[in-house]
Structures are given as structure tokens and as C-alpha cells.
Symmetry: C2
Subunit: 751 residues, 2 copies
Amino acid sequence: MRVEGARKKAARTAGLEQLLNPHTVAVIGASPKEDRIGGIILKELTRSHCLLYPVNPKYKALRGLRCYPSVLDIPERLDLAVITIPAAGVPAVLEECGRKRIPYAIVVAGGFGETGEEGKRLQDQLVEIRHRYGIRILGPNTLGVFFPEQSFDTIFVEHGDKSLAGGGGTAVISQSGSVGIEALGLASNIGFGLRTFVGLGNKCDLDELDFLRYFSEEPGTRLIAFYLENINEGRQFLEACRIISQNKPIVGLKAGRTASGASAVSSHTGRLAGMDLVVEGAFRQYGILRVQDDEELTDACRALEKCPLPKGNRVAVLSPAGGYGVICADYIETPHPFTPLEMARLLPETEQRICSVTLPFASCHNPVDITASASGEMYGQAMEAILSDPGVDILICLVFWSPPGIEDNLLDIIAQRVQQTEKPVLIFTTYGPFTDRYLLEFWKRGVVGYSSIERTVRAARFLVERRMQQKGRESNQSEVSLKKEMSLGVFVERSKRSVRRVVERWIVNLREAGQPDEYEAKELLKRLGIPVPKGIRIPSDLSEDDDSGFAVKTDVVNSGVQAGMKSLLPKRFPFPVVVKVCGATFLHKTELGGVQVGITKAELETVLADFKNRFPTASFLVEEQVKFLSPELLLGGIEDPQFGMALVLGAGGVLTEVYKDVTSRLCPITHQEAKRMLTELRIRPIFEGFRGLPFDREGLVRLITRFSELLAASEGLISQVDLNPLVCARERGWVVLDAKVVLTEKARRNS
Amino acid sequence: MRVEGARKKAARTAGLEQLLNPHTVAVIGASPKEDRIGGIILKELTRSHCLLYPVNPKYKALRGLRCYPSVLDIPERLDLAVITIPAAGVPAVLEECGRKRIPYAIVVAGGFGETGEEGKRLQDQLVEIRHRYGIRILGPNTLGVFFPEQSFDTIFVEHGDKSLAGGGGTAVISQSGSVGIEALGLASNIGFGLRTFVGLGNKCDLDELDFLRYFSEEPGTRLIAFYLENINEGRQFLEACRIISQNKPIVGLKAGRTASGASAVSSHTGRLAGMDLVVEGAFRQYGILRVQDDEELTDACRALEKCPLPKGNRVAVLSPAGGYGVICADYIETPHPFTPLEMARLLPETEQRICSVTLPFASCHNPVDITASASGEMYGQAMEAILSDPGVDILICLVFWSPPGIEDNLLDIIAQRVQQTEKPVLIFTTYGPFTDRYLLEFWKRGVVGYSSIERTVRAARFLVERRMQQKGRESNQSEVSLKKEMSLGVFVERSKRSVRRVVERWIVNLREAGQPDEYEAKELLKRLGIPVPKGIRIPSDLSEDDDSGFAVKTDVVNSGVQAGMKSLLPKRFPFPVVVKVCGATFLHKTELGGVQVGITKAELETVLADFKNRFPTASFLVEEQVKFLSPELLLGGIEDPQFGMALVLGAGGVLTEVYKDVTSRLCPITHQEAKRMLTELRIRPIFEGFRGLPFDREGLVRLITRFSELLAASEGLISQVDLNPLVCARERGWVVLDAKVVLTEKARRNS
């Protein structure tokens, strides 16, 4: 395995130029028939700058090119084989490609791993050949590659006006050919700057990580977009994104947002994570700009490729129609969890300047309405005034072509202003059947436009998000120097091992094999420095010897049943107390009447007797009652099958699943990242002097990073954790009032 | 005023046929020049079926028609004058139209009320002429009217391919010409069924209500859509919508969603209402399907006009591309407060049927993936199988044109299945530059499609919402019989007057003129049967004579300061108690340390002394401490300037403004409507056996309707009310723990 990994890594560094921009290409299964895939691809490739070698034993010549019975008969060295024949025949010809030492092959046919057992066996044969000969495979079941600069195109379905797609800097990696290609086709109507398109197909060999790394170094690529349904090596992929996104924006579409499969999970955190929370958080953490569908993907790429980034989030709107200006302002001011936008406040000078160049009944504050009497001249002058206002970070310009004073030269007037400014300008325009034509004219002049106000505002959010990423990176760098003093952030291997040893020892000492109860869960937290209330566990059978081996046991003055249960408590235990039924099997303690609060010293004995009566086989937890004013939070952990341990932070208490006000990151997380998490909650005003009550933000950040270290060190041992509620108590800071830990199958067996 | 109102009403019933479908039309300001408005409109109208009478003293003939110096020179009776001259000259020619007894005039020019004082004076002259002669005016500052059936079109700007727009049943009323026309232009690319377009402009006379009523009776109109920036007679307009929407769907766009002006409001409710909450709730209450922009407006109209309504909300997806199917499922399952959709579960028979007609590697459960090897035949058969499944209410069909097995006859295959079913089918399709062309071909065959998955799913939500409206109406009708017994719902004038008298008397007896404190607010609630905790007010100066005149005062055993404050309480007051500082000026009692809970009999005297010390001039409220398990709710009232008194219901407590989990209705509201409000809150699971705790839903519904009667009766007296928190106490149901009432300026002066 290790040898294989090293080989793969070495192969990766070799680059993929021969695949994406080859000089010599064999087309296996080439055909004269234009309705056959082998015919379409051959015809398409004759437009490229490659030397072509059709392969088909049935023909001597095709399109004027010599046709060979097998790649083995071709005298030249080949960069690439495009295999267009049906699945069953592929292994045999791929074997020949291997023998010919062709470095790359694209396998177009479907009918492999995606179709069931038989196809999977066929695909395994390809993988075996790939390893035997070192030939790298793209596919099977893929549309292949489109590299407009060299007119190199193996895609055999319609994908928009090819001439438009060239000259750009956006690389698109798509697992599904159709999603990628339909999106590009639609985007090409209004302009899209494609550098390279790659369809991954079944990913039997080359995958997203290979192409991501290639495009990160390919000088013509300024921006990388991907559509993926699954991610092969989740954590490695994300780590690569983190590094690459420092230089090139990465836009990601991951299907399966709401698909849950949440039936098997038994914690709050687990149910919340079913909503795709982990992917959402991980993408943000690793610098990926997430989009929800193909339209948003192309919209984001168009803006990110052409526009400078804004300094802030203050947007001005320029419109010749008041109604549209108001609708646009509505979209701008709609609350957004991560990229809130604001309507810019124009300086009085700016407003005066606008008024001086427009007609008397124009409205010169933002949204600026220059009315249907607008001329191109007015547009230009108003744009200049707005763009020179230091309170404006982004300008959205609404353009209509029906007002009598508007001519087609408005395209140039606007383009000129866009070229002169360092601020991003986005256009919304519609003109009935001519809408796309005008959008394309804008694009050709370097101006980005959309035909929907909603999409225009959304594009502005992507620019702001990208800017925030860069800002976050800057402040991360200044954080590095702080790290040593604060013993936070980077989670070094040594401390990871020591935390893991604590967890392992804790598991061995559990009372019931593999099922920690609340008391035991809190013991683990306590050992790792996460505060919990003072408390003791009263075993179900008081005469039973408690062999939990926890230090707290020595506190207990156990004089047996005769002396009354109260005497079990340490002498100076703080009253009032909370009594809870305790055991991994009690899921909804409150609903069962298994929690009672505010118990005084005098009442305790009666309450415990009542509990004993109602839950004869259970243990009980007697805890100090913590006073707090803060809202309740939830801190959780969940093992994601693709990305590993994720931490979840959110509003807690009884309404956790009602509001789903949660955010997530993969573990371990830095101090800085923990702070960003706080800003992403709707409940964030509580950290901003909410109702005059100051809650200890720094303490919470410390607690989060510490908890993330526990999770990171417990990978493979712990599958889910719920700390809920977590509250801020007067004078002692954040305390975990209830805790639940679920072990992995493996840890349960070993405990 | 009353006479004027009656005259207006009479005129309204006369109908607007002569305006929207005239036989004889004068074009005042007609011109031979095609770049002049008077030239464009004349040319446009020569295509109509009207008799035309150009009016312009400069010409004898235009386009072969006799041209008249003035309308007074035209021998025939005229239905309509279209006035195309600039603003300054309009009053003089309108006066002539009046003298000629022309019933309708369209005034195209801007430069009236929208431009400031001078323009407003000019507009007032039009209104004066309108009243003198009875001539009805559309505009000024309007694009006028477009009635494709008769090719009658006064719109002088580009608005898409006119031939497409005809033959439909959708009437569009738009205050802003540009919003309406640009939307139609864009929609005409892909098909839109326009019946009539009306631009309202400045609404100096004819307004939305006139056209709404006309279209409700016009037999060719099946659907009404409006775009409005303000609504003239808010409540009347809504009442009309309620009745009309029983027969014809109404789609509404109201700009200004987030615009707040909330700085002046001082209550939770007020701040929440700033988010356009009232319009949102009122539209839902009165049967208007609300949209957020022009694209959504046309999208909704296209689906509502052509599709049958679904029986439920279960959606099946049919796709030849797995990735797109998953993206579509994600949009379907995205939580939605009012129109949640579900992915349908197909019957095993259905899945088998699909498998039997597709290739082996198709995926036959929802979302169904018939793969890129799909043929038209497979599409048709899979559609039949899915549409015959009783568990499917809506089918979304994703169509791509690139798979080799797909031909253009797929248009007809799908159209045939759509015609044969009573379930709605929506199409998503893209095909690069040809996308709109295919959407239009579908539309011509009676099939509704969109080029974005998000928009397709949104269209499905509109169908579900319309269906829910109809269901709600059915259950409303069965409710009528219940109303008398339950004394709920219809708020009869008599009880309204008696409630108002209670409020008026209460205002007169307030201690401080116009500033009710918490104790007084609760007194009002108590008198109207809304439960509050038992409590007394201890005046700031104990020797002062409490002249509040409230009945509770007689409960107070006031033996003066000497006997200790505790003795102020009635003998059998329930302990522990809550002590609060009480007065209209204390806004954030908790933050000020002005609330203390859990005070025992022994502690009370000390606590009161401490309060007295810290708030020397304040009164105090001593209340029983209510135990509750329910989450906290908020019930509020706010006077909306356009629509009157609105009731707000939502999640309450400290996080009210964090989650803004609120919904609203205009007052008074029916039992049924109050129930619907509960279903619109995200917190709704608490009424559905949340965590095993049953909260009294019926009691809450009664409380809401009673509170809405109080609000309705207090119009003009009370401007804002906050009942927060409202909680469900053990054994006694819903209780208001804190209450705040703000009087109107007028009521304050009079108190």
C-alpha cells in the first residue's frame, strides 16, 4: 500500500500536459459515420492542432488520415489514446496502449462500475492494466477533455458556441459530464472564459485531486471550478484546496445537499450533520466558494474571473427604473449568514454630483434612480460619481435598452468606466429576446452581467466572500506568532498522542462495556480541562462496588443505604442540586421525568427515593445547579465518512433542531477558525454585548479549540459527541451541563 | 367625501372595456416622426382593429387618416383619448376631451406628481378636470395598455415578440411600466400567455383596485398578476383580492421588502414588522401568491396558467443525468416555511415498471435516472409509470438534447403525456444557445418549462401554494357553522364597539397620561379575558393615593409603610413571587437588574427595600411566579400605515430578534387563520407533541383570536403591543408574563 501511494504521488507530479494538450493522439474506434461517437470525436479532433492516428481494423484511411488496425502498428510515439469503442472491448485495446507505452488514455464508454457487478469487474480490469503498464486513465464513462486554446475537444455532445468559450482562465472539473457541459453551453450564450474542461466520469484512476493539482500550477488557469458527487480522498483534497485557494479561487458544487441517511444517527449533532452541515463548513474552512447548482457555478466563475475584489460589502445601485432599484436593494439587504451586504451611504458630495448631471426628478441617493429619461452620458457620469465615493465598494448597474435616450454606445460608455475603476461593477440587463446578445456584448468588453437581479446580487456576494477569504488568511498569518504563547491552534502530534491515551484509558475503565453514561462522559471532559458541574454518581445498587476507577469516587463518603442517600454527597457539596437519571439508555431524560432541579438539602433524600422507585435499575447523577444568564449552546462532534472528525457549534437547548442554527468545521481547528464560527451563528449577537450581558468570548474560543483537539485525537474511537447545553455561568465561565459520548463500533468491541 | 365615494363606486361598476378594448380612439399629439412617442403609438395602433383619429393642428393627414386640430373637431363619438404630448400641454387637451364627453384618457407623459411640487400641481389640475367631466384617467406617466387579442397597444418601448404574447389568460397590472414590460419581454422568449397589460403610472385616478375588479369579471382573464410600489386603499384592495382569488389566482409583487424605516419603533413587534412581515402575512391571508421579483412573477404566472393543481406536495423527478437529479432533489427537500415539498416514494410496482422500460443501469427510484442512453420512448414510458403512481402529486422532468438517443420528437412525446394526466408536469431543460427555443416549443404544446432547476422547483411551490389556498377555503367554509357556538372568527360590530369602550375607559384611567405601565397593560388584558399572573402594583410613594381606579386595588391591604411592604400583598398571595420595576420608561428591565425571581415570603421585604433604594421613583410589580415548560412565545400588535392593525405571532423570549421566527395577519383573524399561523412558525413542532410535552393548541388559538379582536377594536388608539413572553403553564394554560402597550399620538393627547 505504501509503495503504491508513493508511486501514485510520483506520477502526479509528472503533470497532465500530454493528456490535456497532447501532440500525438490515437483515436481508437474512429469511424467515418458522423452519428457514431468514434466518428464525432475524430471529426472534432481534426479541428485541433494535434497529429491524429485513427485506429480501426475495418478502414485503411479516414478523413485523409492513415487508419491503423491497432495502436501497436503506429510508428510514432503517442501522447494519448482516446478509446471510443464500447465497454466490452476496452480492456483488450487498453492492454495494447499499455504495451505501446502510451502515457494517457481517455475511456469514453459507459457500462463499467456505474452499472453493477459485471461492469465493476470490467473496470477492475482497466485498473489492473493501469498498474501493470503505468498508463494513466481518464474515465471510463466520461466526455473527456475540452481545451479551447488548442481546439482540442473530445466532447461528442453539443456544448454551446465553441468560439465564445476560449480565451478564458477558468478550469472546470466535472464528475458528471452532463452537468458540466450543459452549464457551459448555457453560459456560453452570455460569455464564459473557459480554459479547460475535464469530465472525470467513474474516476477509476485520475481523479479530482490530480486535476486540482495540475491546474493549480498551470499558468493559464486563474480560477478552478468543480462539480463532484463524491470525493475520493476527502481530507487530502481539502488540504490541497486550502493551499491552492491562496492563489486561485476555487468554486465548488457538491451534489447531495439535503440527502440525509440520518436515520441511523442518535445524537443531536448527528441529525444536524445530516443536513450537509459538514460539507458546508469544511468547504468554508478550506477556502472553497460553495455553489448550489450549475447556474450558480457559472455565475460565480464569470464574476470571479473578470472583476476586481471589493474592499468591503457596501453596494451602490444605479438604475433608470425606480421599481427595479428597490427590488435590487431588497436582495442586497436580505440577511445572509456569511456574506451580508449593505446598501452604501453616498456622501452628500456624491449625491450632489449625481443630481448635477441628471434631470430634476432623478433620485440621487442609493438606490440611485436616473429615471427613464436617462442618456448614456448620464449613466457614465453617475457611474463616475458613485465609483469615486469612498463609501462604495461595489456598484450594481441596472441597464435597460428601451428608454428613448439609450443607444448601443452605452455598452462602451459602461465598459470604459469599468476599465478605469478598481472597484467591481456588475450589470443587470434585460431586453426581451435580445437579452443574451447584450450580455455577451458586455462580456466581450470585459463587463460581467446577468439577466436576473437575484443572480446579480448573488455574484456580488461571491466577490465579497472571496475577499473575506483573503482577509482571513492575512489575519491567520498574524495569528501564527501568538500560537506558542496561547498553546492553541496547531495541534501537534505529541499532544494528540497524549490526548488519545487519555481517551483510550477512559474507554477501558467504562462501567458498561462501550456505553459511557453522562457521568463518565463528563469525567472525560474534566480530564481534558473542559469544565463540567461538580457532581457524583450514585450507583443503581448502593451496595454494589463502584469499579469505575474515577478519582471523584474518593470524594464520596459512602456510608451505605442505612445512613440515607444524602450522606453519599461530599460534605461541602453546594446546594441546591440537580438530580438526573444516568445511563446511556436514557435518551430523553426530561420527557421521562428523569431530571429534577432546585433540590434543597432537605428535599434530596425524598427525591432520590422517588427516583429509585421510578427507575429501579438506573444510576443517578447528583450535581450542583449552575446559575447562568447566557442562552444555551451546543458543541458536538461527528465522524464524517468522507472528511473525518467534524466539530459542530450552534444554539443549543430544547430548540436546537427547530432552528438548526449551527456551523461546522473539521478538526482540529485554529483559534481564528473558532472565532469565525461564532460570527456565522444567527445567535452571534450574544457575543456582541447582547442585552448588556457580556459573555466570555475568548473562553468559549479556547473551549472550542480544546474540544476540537479531543475530537481529532479520538478519530476511530468516538463517533459522536453532544455537549448540550453548554452555558456561561456567572463568575466561572463556560460549563457543559449535559454530555453524551458515543463510541465507534471498534472502540465498543475493544472496551 | 361620501358623495364622491359613491360616485367613484358607481363609475367602477361601469367597466373598463372602452379603455382596454376601445372601438374609436383619438391619438392626441400624433406625429409622422417614428422617433416621437406620438409617432410610435400612432403607428402601433394602425395595427389594431380600432378606428383611429389622429389629433395634431400641424397636420391634415397622417398615415392616410384625417388628422384633426382638436378632439372637438372629430364628428364621431370616441371611446378613448391617448394623450402623447408633454406634461405642460396636457390639462388643456384633457379639458377638451372632457367637453367632448370622451369616457377614458391615457396620459403618457411624465413630469407630473413624481417630479416634485410643480408637477404635483399639474397633476391636481388633471384630477380637477376628471371630476368636472367624469372622464376617467389612466396615468399620467404610464406606458398605457396592451391587449394582444385586438392588437391594441399603446406601449412605445420594445416588449418582446408580440405575436407570442397573445392567446393567454394572464392580466398584468404594473405600477412601474419598466418592471412589467421588461419582465414580459424576457418571458415572451419562452412563452407567456398575456391577456392584458396595464401600466398604472402615477394613479391620479384609475388604480389597481379598478383594474383588479374589472379583470375579476372579464371572462378572458384566468389569472391576475400585479406589481405595486404602494397600494392606494390597502384594506379594500386586500378584501377584493380575497374574493377574487377564490376564482382566479392572484400573483403579487410588492417592492420594498426589507426597507425598514424601523428607527422610530420601540417594540419587538415593531422592529420585526420592519422586515415587511405585515405585507407577507397580509398577502397570504388575502389569497395573494407573493413573488419577490419580475422573473418569479412571470415564472409563477406561466405555471399557474397552464398546469393543473397538484393534490399534494410529493414530487417525482425524472432525469437522464444522475447529477442533475440529485441537485433537483436537494432543491425539493430544502426546508420551506409555507410550501414544503417532499420527494415522492414510488411504489415497488412503479419502480419495476420503470426498470422494465429502461436500460439495466438506470436508477428506478426517485429521483429516477434513465441515464444518457435514454430514448424518447423511454422518457414517455417512464413518465406514464410515474404519473400513474398514486404517491406522486407533481412530476419534474429534466430534459437534455445532447444524448444520442434523443430527437426533437421528445417535445411531442412529453406534450402527449402532459395532456393525458391530471397531475402537473414541469420541465427543466437546457441546450446551450438553443435553450429558449426549446422552452418556447414546449410552451406552444401546452408544456411549462424553465432553464434553471431552482426556478422549476419554485414553480412547483406556487402550484402547491395555490392548492393549499383552495383547501384552506374549503375548511373555512365548514368552519362557518362552528362560528356561532365558539363565539370566534367573525368579529361583529357590536362586540367590536364594546371592546373599544373597554379600551377607551382604560385609557382615561391611566396613572400617567398616555403611558401605560406593565401593570396597567396587564389590567387591560385581564378585562378582555387574556390570562395574566396574579399581581399587585406597589406605588413609588406608598403614602400616595393610588387613583388608578382598577378593581384589583381593593385586593390590596394597604396598611402603609410602617407595617412593612409585605403587608401590601393580599393574604393568600402565592409564593414564591417575582418582583419587577414597573413603569413605561423602563425598557430593558432584566439588563437594569430590575427583575428578581423566586422571592420567598421571608425575602420579600428585603428585596423590596433594595428595589426602592435602587429605583427611588419607580413603582413595583409583585407577581406570582408562573411555572412553565413551554418555549416562550411572542404575541404582538402593530398598526401598519397601509393595511391597519396587524397581529404578530412568533417565538419569544430573549432570542426573538435573533431568529425572527414570526408570522403575521391583519386583524381580526379567524380561528382557522390563527391555526394556519401556528403551522408557519419554525417553532411549530412544539404544537405537534414536541418532546412528549403537549401544549394547549386550542387554547392558544382562542387567545390569538381574542387578542386580534382587541387589536381590531383599538385601531387609532393603540399603535403597538408586545406580549412577550407568553407561556403555557402547567394546569392553567397560556399566560402572558410581560406586556407592553403603546398608545397612538392621538390617544395619548386625549388620555
